[in-house]
Structure formats: structure tokens, C-alpha cells
Amino acid sequence: MASVEVRKDIHSVYIQCAMRINDTIKFDWVLPESYTAILIKGSVVFGVEPAATPALGLYRVAVGEKLEVEATEASVLFVPFLLSDTSAMDAMFTAADDPRTASDYYNVTDFQSTAYRVNSTISESTGPSENLVLTLADLQGIALTAKGA
């Protein structure tokens, strides 16, 4: 199954998706502005594109479009948003789970060192392939969990 995590740094929040072959993920929301998904591993079909996009790949999600991704091999992608992007942040998060009021990096400390503030494994998905529809409530739940970590 696919895995979705929410990451944060001092300027941005990232929706990070790890997928097995044949996994699909659909973001079941639209935003009032376009944004970009960045594929850093593997190969996926974005939306209604006719062919798979290999890493490193970018896909522009249009205003009003719901991001849909199908993995043609094990893949990892992330979707960045600026914390200062009030329009996107207000559309995606509630006061409780708002990353803007969370501690830096969500206090993610797999381990730290002289060089790294955060060095965290991206959980690669396991189990059977699935069709995941990620709602805003799901996203907010993930962000709330990260915020409380």
C-alpha cells in the first residue's frame, strides 16, 4: 500500500508519497492555485497524461484539478507548499493541524548529528497495491500526528 507523510522545514510543508507498483493516489481536493508534484524516484502516470513520467519528473497540477498518480514502478514523490502561501495553507489545513503553528521540522528526530538536523527514512510502502483516495481530513490527520510527534 501507498504511504503518505507530511514533512516540514522552516519555510515549507511537503506532502510526501511513497508508492508500490500499481498503487494509485488521488488528492481528493482542489486548490485555488496551481502547484507542482516532483517525482524523485521511480515512474508514474500523472493525471490523464498518455505516458509514464520517469524520475526526475515534474507535474503541474492546474487550478481546480485533483492530483492523480499511478505508479508504474516503486516511486516516491513530494508536493511542496510555502508556509507563507496563505491561500494554499488555509485551504488545506485547520487551526488544529496547521503546520504554520507546529515546531520546526515537526521535531522529527530519527537522529541528529553535527551535520544533520533531520535524517529520516522515507517509509517505502509495503503490502498489496491499492487505490488510495486521500481526503483533506486524511491529510489533516497526518499533519496533526506529525505536529504532535
Binding site: 522552516i10 496551481s34 538536523r117 522515507i122
Partner: protein, 164 residues
């Protein structure tokens, strides 16, 4: 290096040209005055940072965990000079910078961003464009145990750059 609506993405892709032991690609980024977020997408690497004495420290000597195996989400501390030696056939990392004048000006010299490009990046009119700013191909050799820079590929024996 390219832009999205709100970010500048620096992508580094390394290819290990030797089938067994050589790692002719290395990358050493300039020291940064802001924490730096990295998505390490594919591959493996031996990662070093420079200590206060100017010596390169193999991170494996400080850690016992697999810091050098993708996929990972990393935030590199500010004021840390680091580098990596590729140990897989393919290596892909992306650095994420916000479209913020103050931050991009800090990175301007290290990323070879011209004043004209900086204005182009920050121009709201370019928000909807993927702009590829520039691309570089480099080929360097470094010792996988010490990060010492080595002569060119034709002059390096495999025994000098065998990896653990």
C-alpha cells in the same frame, strides 16, 4: 536547477561510471547559512562533512545507521560543509529552496545564479512556468574513505577508491 510556482529545485544526479568500485562523481556544495532540505531519492553514497579543523569526516564514523541509503528526507544543518561519494550506479538528490529573495541571495554564488536569473525567479509573472535555470555536468574523483580529491579517472587505480 529549475523553478516551480513557489520553489527553486536543485537536482543532482550522479552516475557511477565504473561497474565495480569507482565513483567518479562527487558533489560538494558550498557552506550554507540556512538549514537545507534535501530529498534523497535514489541510490547510495558515502557522506562526509568538514569539521572545525578542516578535516573531512566520514559520517559512518559518527553514526551506525544507514544515513546514506535512499529514499530519505534530510535537513542539513546550516554552516555545515558536506560532500558525498556515490556508491551506486545511480544517485539522485533534490535540494529545495523557497522563492525568497533573502534566501536565494545567500545561495546565489554557490548555485551560479545571475542577478538577471534571480529577478526572473522572483518575478510573479513566471509563477506558472517551469524555468530551467542551468545545468552542469561534472566528473570528479574523490577517495571514498577520506574525501580527498583524486586525479582524473584515467589516472586512478581502482584500488585507490574501493568502497566499504
Amino acid at each position: 536547477m529549475f523553478t516551480t510556482q513557489s520553489h527553486v529545485i536543485v537536482a543532482i544526479e550522479g552516475e557511477n561510471l565504473d561497474e565495480v568500485t569507482c565513483s567518479p562523481f562527487t558533489q560538494s556544495m558550498p557552506m550554507q547559512s540556512q538549514d537545507l532540505t534535501v530529498f534523497f531519492g535514489e541510490g547510495t553514497a558515502t557522506i562526509f562533512h568538514k569539521d572545525s579543523n578542516g578535516d573531512w569526516i566520514d559520517m559512518r564514523t559518527e553514526m551506525t545507521r544507514g544515513i546514506d541509503v535512499a529514499p530519505r528526507f534530510l535537513v542539513i544543518n546550516k554552516n555545515v560543509e558536506f560532500g558525498s561519494v556515490v556508491t551506486s550506479s545511480l544517485y539522485r538528490v533534490t535540494f529545495v529552496l523557497p522563492k525568497d529573495r533573502t534566501i536565494l541571495e545567500l545561495w546565489q554564488p554557490g548555485l551560479f545564479i545571475t542577478d538577471e536569473q534571480l529577478e526572473q525567479i522572483l518575478d510573479p509573472a513566471t509563477r506558472e512556468s517551469f524555468i530551467e535555470l542551468h545545468a552542469h555536468n561534472t566528473e570528479k574523483l574523490r577517495n571514498g574513505d577520506t574525501f580527498e580529491e583524486l586525479p582524473g579517472p584515467d589516472e586512478v587505480a581502482d584500488s585507490d577508491i574501493t568502497f566499504v
